[in-house]
Symmetry: C2
Subunit: 130 residues, 2 copies
Amino acid sequence: MLLKIEFESETPIYQQIKNQIIKGIATGELAIGEDLPSVRQMAADIGINFHTVNKVYTQLKQEGWVVVHRKSGVMINPDLKAELTEDYLQTLEENLETLAAEAYLRGVSKEDFHGMIDKKYSSFIGRGRK
Amino acid sequence: MLLKIEFESETPIYQQIKNQIIKGIATGELAIGEDLPSVRQMAADIGINFHTVNKVYTQLKQEGWVVVHRKSGVMINPDLKAELTEDYLQTLEENLETLAAEAYLRGVSKEDFHGMIDKKYSSFIGRGRK
DNA sequence: TATCTGTTATATATATTATATAACAGTTCT
DNA sequence: AGAACTGTTATATAATATATATAACAGATA
């Protein structure tokens, strides 16, 4: 998987990597059970310190997105079952409200917003839970 | 307007205030032309340093949400005309994609997402640009 | 043994966030 | 004129977050 990092961005590098990996899982660009590069390899590919990648993998493991084996390295969790907790729903609603408020004030209609959602969801592969 | 700050949150205080003010404009809780508390007053109300509030007002002014007059203080910009720039649309799409990817993987359906959007938009007052 | 994994420890540098004091230049009211 | 309020600016400090640098360790593999 090709990662594109913007070093001038306000978003921290480790956060950019996390976001792109989760997007990759959703779109299927990262197959289930697929191996991710080693911390040192990915760090070398991007041109950053391996601790930054290690932070990403540690958090992704913590949140259940990946599993780790000695030597075999890090792979997308084959038993991925991200839960729809009340805490998550609350933060989602809050983030969405912030996003929607500014979008609305800038002239993005409800229909525009629906269209953007539809476009994103159409790019996701059929792996989500029902 | 009553501001609720979570001091344990990962989101910086100044960012929480900004978000709530923009939400307030969208919902109409903050009327157009309405005065906001002075930097010192709001800081005292919340129990934080006035520089933190000053940072909020400076950025809100910079982005066109408020206007500032000596003595009369800060008010919601009566000529609010937030623009739908290409840069803004791009960041909106990117933020939405990140949000949608995780939501999808956690079992939030497209219809759920639409419902959340509709709920937010129904709380916004008719002031947006067309 | 040599080489690859993730992991941990320690140290350093930089930027961000938040606070603390102080002062200044306008405006408004007494 | 003077007091009391505005936003604004300057300076300093502290805590935290982000990123890097070097080194070492334990387990797996060839």
